[in-house]
Symmetry: C2
Subunit: 395 residues, 2 copies
């Protein structure tokens, strides 16, 4: 069978092979990219879904508008307002998880051969998603404060990309938080080079101490002309439930209209059953307590992992303690002749019954084989300590 | 803002303009393409969703496999078995409505410029979906017995299409039912020309009298080598609830693997909440009664519409009484100097407070402006009779 030429641009993930090994009995996994099922507010979602089916069965079970179920758009508008963003319900569309927002951006914006700038490292499924639309990805370097905006400016000037894709807050895999100063700089670059910026923000609500700087979208009100050059993707997956597949995109009207047309032919609309349930949940007022709970639990786990890494691995790794999100991003230093290849370490770690994801596949260009991603989301503190101890042994 | 070149291949639907007028008070609409909300088994779905959240909250709310939620794949396999198809759960993937199956077929199979044969007329969102991937669509003529297989063979031989897309059973918009003889012929053509056949089957369960012939997929067991050249798309949207967005695709393993990879970067997976609910519903054993109910109600409405059309419009229209599905497909004959342009009739009809969809946009090539589509799904018998009377006045 002959397949479409666009499939030549992607390869099945190397990480998939690793994940097959995770079923090994007794393994402690830091490899996942998902929240802890034990965090889900099952009772709240039960109530919300019953309410949706009782009060609005026609809406929850019938075809709906491609743009999204109106009561959910209203609730999401209100949710964004608590985060400093003024958006009319008509200024956002609901997507089937934020993954679909990426897909719609690819479909709407990327012609084969177009350049797109992403962070190095960035979300693996973004790389593959954009490449399926024929994008040539350019990798902008980051540090603990997110993308280096001076380097980013050079790349924008050189490559004139179709857009720049950033996960500014607790990015996957980097866990990095773009500084306030750099956020402002990104907005200036958008205006200066008239370049669309895509802000992917699934983790912004998951902070452990003080709140991160406002999103790039929230800050755009202070930079004239920048709002019309921003697309912002949000998600309930990390804080409420990924299984609902509820994401959203805020973007200029013209882009939103094209993305809606593409969505119509992608999946017609996002499950109205999920949408009506999410709307009822947000309306119920349980979200603030849910957020407080996940922040506290993940914060403790992040703390425990940071301490364990220092204790067990010492100067063999360097990392920045994440202030939110789900991930540690670490680098093997090779100090004292220790291993500096994360692929090799991953193999040895599996033998010691602990798993993580090597960092190299997260780079669209110039992979750094010394890097690795550790999720602290799904193991409790005791497992985190035991797992990191095993990691030290593997090293 | 500059958009991707693929958007040049589609236009926003002419039908959208019509739909804006449907809000007019007092209008009777035969324009929709959706089932009647009053048919939904709300109680059954309430129970199913509560069971899903009680018995398997982790599964229903967490990320899931891109291929689909295992218990649902098992249930769908069993459902297909009742329809004469032997398929292992691993031989199907769950899609976000069957619209997504079309999208994945486009993404997986169509390179820009590739030819795809569709029926003339065919489902509007199929036309747009495939064109977004750069397909050049070839239109194969149909009659009341579905696609004319002798014409289809000529077109396959001439154009060597990437695949042939058919809605063999009660198609949208045609309502036509491909005869058993022609189904077998399609399978022979698949093997003779080594051409992939896509069988889209959202309406096959919605028959009014005796059951239609087995699906092309079910018949493939009698034609050696044909099963490996078939993709079959199913859906719960028309018989249970479109809002769940549960469709599925059965296809050769190699195609299914590529479609799964594409789905991973499209929406990661279909709502596990919807999937777990659908699985519980199918497991509950309520489906046969639900099917019997929708068949009976829609059957009465189809009967009423056919009688009213004969009574009110006489020889001004020609049509075949549909034996299932949601639609009448009619043609203005122009007899006795009556109007033969369905676009013009649509305008006049709106003035008389009745709406339908002109047929021309459903043709990928050579539109027939005398055709129209009338849905009998959402109006009750009294409304159908009154609406067709108004249609007669408009004519």
């Amino acid at each position: 069978m002959q397949f479409a030429s666009r499939l030549d641009n992607v390869e099945t993930s190397a990480i998939r092979e690793l994940f097959k090994l995770l079923g090994k009995p007794g393994i402690i996994s830091f490899a996942g990219g998902f929240p802890d099922s034990a965090m889900f507010d099952v009772e709240g979602l039960k109530e919300a879904s019953q309410k949706a089916l009782t009060e609005e069965p026609g809406g929850a079970l019938q075809y709906g508008a491609t743009e999204g179920y109106e009561p959910l758009r209203t609730q999401l508008g209100a949710f964004m307002k608590t985060k400093g963003v003024d958006v009319d319900p008509s200024g956002l569309i609901v997507t089937t998880g934020s993954q679909q927002a990426l897909d719609l951006l690819g479909k709407t914006m990327i012609s084969p051969g177009d350049k797109v700038i992403v962070e190095g490292p960035t979300f693996l499924a973004t790389i593959q998603c954009f490449r399926l639309y024929g994008a040539q990805l350019i990798s902008a370097p980051i540090d603990a404060n997110g993308v280096k905006t001076d380097e980013l400016e050079k790349l924008i000037a050189e490559h004139k990309p179709r857009f720049v894709y950033l996960i500014p807050t607790f990015g996957n895999p980097s866990g990095a938080m773009l500084s306030l100063e750099r956020r402002k700089k990104v907005l200036e670059l958008a205006v200066k080079y008239q370049t669309l910026i895509v802000e992917d923000d699934p983790y912004g609500d998951l902070y452990f101490g003080e709140a991160p700087p406002p999103s790039i979208l929230a800050l755009s009100k202070d930079v004239p002309g920048s709002r019309e050059l921003l697309a912002h993707c949000g998600s309930l997956s990390k804080v409420l439930s990924p299984g609902l597949r509820i994401g959203w995109m805020i973007a200029p009207a013209e882009l939103l209209a094209k993305a809606t047309m593409c969505k119509q032919f992608s999946d017609a609309h996002t499950s109205t059953f999920s949408q009506a349930t999410a709307a009822q949940y947000l309306k119920s007022g349980r979200m603030p307590a849910t957020l407080a709970h996940v922040r506290e639990v993940y914060g403790q786990r992040a703390q425990a992992m940071g301490a364990a890494l220092e204790r067990e691995l010492g100067d063999a790794v360097s990392f920045t303690q994440p202030q939110g999100g789900l991930f540690f991003w670490a680098r093997l230093t090779g100090a004292n002749g220790k291993l500096a290849d994360a692929n090799e370490l991953a193999k040895r770690a599996i033998e010691k019954l602990v798993a993580f994801v090597p960092g190299a596949p997260f780079f669209a260009e110039k992979p750094d084989v010394a890097t690795l991603r550790l999720s602290f989301a799904t193991a409790d503190v005791a497992k985190i300590e035991e797992g990191v101890k095993r990691l030290g042994q593997a090293l």
